[in-house]
Symmetry: C2
Amino acid sequence: MLDLQQLQTFRVVALTNSFNRAAAELGYSQPSVTFHIQSLERELGATLFTRHRLSRGATLTEAGRHALAFADKLFGLVQEAKATLGHERTEVG
Amino acid sequence: MLDLQQLQTFRVVALTNSFNRAAAELGYSQPSVTFHIQSLERELGATLFTRHRLSRGATLTEAGRHALAFADKLFGLVQEAKATLGHERTEVG
DNA sequence: TAAAAATACTCCATAGGTATTTTAT
DNA sequence: ATAAAATACCTATGGAGTATTTTTA
């Protein structure tokens, strides 16, 4: 089953173009970020990032760009739902 | 963070009007269903079901009806995303 | 040889189960 | 008394961490 926490990790990696920077930003270890992305790729049946090395980071694949658009819509929907249900918390997730 | 597995449990409870029937249908124990619904209610900040006893089951509250509409939209979006990403699996989740 | 991701492994938090209790009619 | 949900408690799985290795420019 799709995991929203992994999807959030995916968004941060996409934003930073780096597993390491995403890890720092999210307060996870780098291997946890790797695990999140690998799980998500398995779940969605698509490779989301092209992994580079030596300071070039990771960049979205075509499937990754589709997935990012989907993630944005999905978290928007979640925010909307929480607002409708009168919940006061505002962070995504 | 919202858990899609709990949201799916919620849908089945809403459909069957019963924690016990939902448990049977999903292959969970009844306490697990209780736990899913309680977590979800805490996460969303709203009571989703009115609990009855003695064969009368559980019925959606007003917030629960909103949440169900949201869940339907959300799982539809997930299905769409998986289709777009060329994934062949069809079950929700 | 250096920067970044992947792998190996360990551990503990929590999701899930069984047994029991509570509630309401 | 009975049907159904809640609670108590225990266990095992897997998510998260640290240490290390691999990769490639």
